[in-house]
């Protein structure tokens, strides 16, 4: 097992190199660079723009740019953001916590609802409740998140129960620690609902499908035939087996903890990484984009590694050599 993990970790290096290089190529394929936005300002001379481009090697080809970036990365220097003029890591750090909180809340919300719901629907297949939940699942899957967010915000502004976006109340500073926590929870509700709904819908359908598959297996019939109580059949035998694919999906969603959801963040005014990165890509803030890409891809492959390890633990049939 240890050997396997070390091998997987070593494999991270070429993977991350490939991902970051593709990122560099993609951003270079788009016309222009970050400093193009200055070109429409009649008070900025072309020499000034050329000076900036030289300073950051933007006048060179993509290989040279990538080389300079790699050299810095090897010294653990992610470079400075063009727009923010501070180290890339500082920019990411300022939003990381907010994104993490929201994603965690979404993760808990969606998994804690979707898994039991999936099991319930599978067990009660084709009954009224199953159909009802399926109906809502399809609505959840098909409603555009920005529209759902606006709808909820409109509702919030009509009733005044929930805050219309943002992460902290204006007088947040004055609250007690408990008050601060409750304030945060209140602000979390709408974005969590918006992002969570679509993922609940998807996860619920998946879990239901897995479960149905397993319930049709012969060992379930055997278990029932030998007189095991139904709850033991479902929870001990069926769920244990149906959960395997979900573990892999869960590993993948670990990367989502820090990737953010730009559209919802913009509408709900959530100060997360998603909209920061959207801006960075739009304005071609190269080093910020590359740094974030590196971080997200690292988390993604780490997530899958963890999923694989957990899978081995959940299912004794799986062994890594």
């Amino acid at each position: 097992m240890i050997n396997y993990i070390i091998r997987r970790l070593l494999f991270f290096i070429p993977l991350l190199l490939a991902v970051s290089f593709i990122g560099f190529v993609c951003i270079n394929l788009a016309p222009g660079n970050y400093f193009d936005s200055l070109k429409q300002n009649p008070q900025v001379s072309q020499d000034t723009i050329r000076l900036y481009e030289q300073k950051y090697h933007l006048d060179q080809n993509v290989f040279t740019q990538y080389y300079y970036w790699l050299v810095n990365i090897s010294k653990l220097d992610f470079g400075y953001s063009f727009a923010y003029k501070i180290p890339v890591f500082e920019v990411l750090k300022s939003r990381m916590f907010n994104t993490f909180i929201l994603s965690l809340s979404v993760l808990l919300f969606s998994w804690l609802i979707a898994i039991p719901l999936g099991i319930y629907c599978a067990v009660n297949q084709y009954k009224f409740t199953d159909k009802l939940f399926s109906f809502f699942s399809f609505i959840g899957l098909s409603i555009p998140s920005f529209f759902f967010a606006l709808l909820l915000l409109y509702f919030a502004s009509l009733t005044g129960i929930l805050p219309a976006g943002g992460m902290h109340s204006l007088n947040y500073e004055a609250f007690s620690p408990l008050g601060k926590f409750l304030d945060l929870l209140k602000h979390l509700i709408i974005p969590t609902l918006v992002i969570g709904t679509s993922s609940i819908a998807g996860l619920q359908r998946l879990m239901r499908g897995n479960m149905l598959e397993v319930l049709r297996a012969q060992y379930i019939t055997t278990a029932r035939a030998k007189g095991l109580p139904e709850y033991r059949v479902i929870y001990l035998h069926a769920v244990r087996n149906a959960i395997n694919p979900m573990v892999t999906i869960f590993g993948g969603s670990l990367a989502g903890l820090l990737s953010g959801a730009a559209l919802t963040e913009i509408i709900c005014n959530w100060p997360g990484l998603g909209r920061l990165m959207l801006d960075a890509v739009m304005s071609q803030d190269l080093f910020l984009f590359a740094g974030d890409l590196l971080m997200i891809s690292f988390l993604l492959i780490l997530g899958y590694l963890i999923a694989d390890i957990v899978l081995a633990w959940v299912d004794p049939r799986i062994q890594y050599q």
Binding site: G32, D36, Y84, N269, L276
Partner: protein, 572 residues
């Protein structure tokens, strides 16, 4: 003068970092009160608090409350007036300016403001080649920088290489504290100083407010500077308001919701918001102000580039197209075919103004209303086209020129601006009525820029520049050698006699210190532009905003927006 979204330009107006001291005071009955807070919103999160390095408009707006220049622009009259400098004189040749600074100004940390700070800001920040700032280009004339020297503790002398008429307006440049930044500059770290990770109490200015708290992508809080030097008529220290909060709200629909909920005190309206918000004025306790035409222009232009691509030896614009585009009657016909009233009604919900002159009517002094105007008339346009041999010969619905070429061309605009897209669609329809085949393609902003300044492979464009009140700051657009002379940039020598005349006007006007004589130059320039139509102006959005009814001394103007005199505004 970058191309911006119209929505954004409304917001921009609010944040123009200029303030005035003398509002028309019909408010003598209401005695100003101290205290209270003002909540504003901004579309984009600031990216840096460094006013020299970061030139974003929204940062400029906020930092304009923290820092001040030697002069400032009056939000009502748009005149230059004293700020940190209380008076100045200029030598007879117009090149040596001596400024006498106020002696009662302290930085917000209590250290006195002196001439050394001014000299430091110019010599060690703006003219320091290691520092990334576009301010350097503003203070560089014909490749030469200004000489700035300290005469005594409160007197500074600027020696200019040549006469420069917009000099005083340029002196609105923010002055930064030497005592805090000298070490940073000598270590070469200024480019990265005062970023978003800075402790805000280290950012020290002379302005009415200082930064107090920043929550990334959520809000910026400013509190009043207890050391601010300006006093009201009763000799009490300004500002009246204790606290200003900028909420970062990226989505305009959410901003409306927040305004209606009473969470923010100000909202810059888009055309579509007007019918929603106007009827709610009483109920919501706010007032909608329309201060008239804005500064953000929208115009159509044709590629008149007569050069050849150096690599492929092909002309940038094929010869027959160039013949149309350089033909004045062709451009006049197009100007007559644009239905400005429809654009205003359909795209702007009736809240726009037609633009005939190269300057916005709100620009005040330098605006020339007496230029040639082109009324909508398809018949007149067709007559003009027939005179140059363009009409539909084979009855297929598409006009041909006298060599039989079909009048077909590409029309580009930037896809980020939805209002401009709608405008472009109407213009396309108008041009089709003339029998033109127009292939309209929206492009991303960067793609458009690279077409404009390096590949030159375009036929027609719809663009916008944010205009201002100082014509000379559009120098790069109007001089034939300028890189933003969009229809034919960087000409070695003027291609036409009217371009030569505009070059001459701009060169003479910048050296003319007498305002009225300067105005004559710029009046003539606006006449030529309307006559020759290198840019065919269409419509200007109007500057409309809603402000909660709780402020005293409020005096909204087209140039300054609602809060140009923020330090004098109080909460009733």
């Amino acid at each position: 003068m970058k191309v911006i979204k119209t929505v954004f330009s409304l917001i921009l107006l609010l944040f123009l970092p200029f303030f005035i001291a003398h509002p028309e005071c019909a408010c003598a009955k209401n005695k100003p009160k101290y205290g209270g807070e003002l909540v504003l919103s901004t579309v984009t999160d600031p990216k840096s608090f460094n006013p020299i390095v970061s030139k974003e408009s929204n940062v400029g707006a906020i930092m304009g409350l923290v820092f001040e220049g030697l002069t400032r622009t009056n939000g009502v009259t748009t005149e230059v007036e004293p700020n940190l400098a209380q008076s100045w004189e200029v030598s007879e040749d117009g090149k040596v300016w001596t400024f006498h600074l106020r002696q009662d100004v302290n930085w917000s940390d209590g250290v006195p403001f002196t001439a050394a700070d001014v000299v430091f800001t110019f010599n060690q920040l703006i003219f320091n080649l290691d520092i990334e700032t576009s301010s350097r280009d503003v203070f560089t004339i014909e490749g030469k920088i200004f000489k700035v020297e300290e005469l005594d503790k409160f007197t500074v002398r600027f020696i200019l290489p040549v006469k420069f008429a917009p000099f005083l307006r340029g002196m609105g440049q923010e002055i930064l504290p030497k005592h805090l930044l000298e070490k940073v500059v000598s270590k070469g770290k200024f480019n990265y100083h005062w970023g978003l990770d800075t402790k805000l109490e280290d950012i020290v200015g002379t302005g009415p407010f200082m930064l107090s708290k920043y929550l990334p992508a959520e809000r910026i809080t400013l509190v009043k500077n207890p050391n601010y030097w300006r006093k009201d008529k009763q000799n009490k220290r300004l500002p009246y308001i204790d606290k200003i909060i900028y909420l970062v709200v990226q989505n305009q629909d959410v901003a409306v919701l927040k305004f209606e909920q009473g969470q923010i005190d100000y909202y810059g309206l888009r055309g579509q918001d007007y019918p929603i918000l106007k009827p709610k004025e009483k109920e919501g306790n706010f007032k909608v102000y329309n201060t008239g035409p804005d500064f953000g222009t929208n115009f159509l232009l044709f590629n008149q580039n007569r050069d050849k691509n150096k690599k492929t030896k092909k002309p940038y614009v094929s010869e027959y197209k160039l013949n149309w585009f350089t033909e004045l009657k062709f451009r006049k016909a197009v100007a007559c075919a644009i239905d400005k009233d429809s654009i205003i009604n359909i795209v702007m919900n009736g809240l726009g103004s037609r633009q005939d002159s190269a300057m916005s009517p709100s620009a005040g002094f330098f605006y020339n209303p007496n230029v040639e105007k082109y009324e909508y008339s398809i018949e007149k346009a067709k007559v003009l086209l027939k005179e140059i041999g363009i009409y539909d010969r084979d009855q297929d619905g598409i006009a041909e020129d006298d060599q039989g070429n079909k009048i077909e061309f590409n029309l580009f605009t930037n896809s980020e601006n939805t209002q401009r897209l709608a405008l472009a669609n109407i213009i396309k329809k108008d041009l089709e009525q003339l029998g033109f085949k127009v292939n309209f393609v929206p492009l991303s902003f960067n793609q458009l820029t690279s077409k404009l300044d390096s590949t030159f492979d375009w036929d027609a464009l719809i663009l916008g520049f944010t205009g201002g009140i100082e014509p000379h700051f559009g120098n790069n657009v109007w001089q034939s050698s300028g890189h933003l002379h969009a229809w034919y940039p960087k000409q070695p020598k003027p291609a036409t006699s009217w371009e030569a005349e505009i070059d001459k006007i701009f060169n003479q006007a910048v050296q003319e210190l007498d305002r009225d004589k300067r105005k004559q130059f710029y009046d003539r320039w606006q006449e030529i532009v309307a006559q020759e139509l290198p840019l065919i102006y269409t419509v200007l959005p109007q500057s409309i905003f809603a402000v909660r009814n709780k402020f005293g001394n409020l005096n909204p103007t087209p140039y300054g927006g609602a809060f140009h005199n923020l330090e004098e505004i109080y909460i009733k």
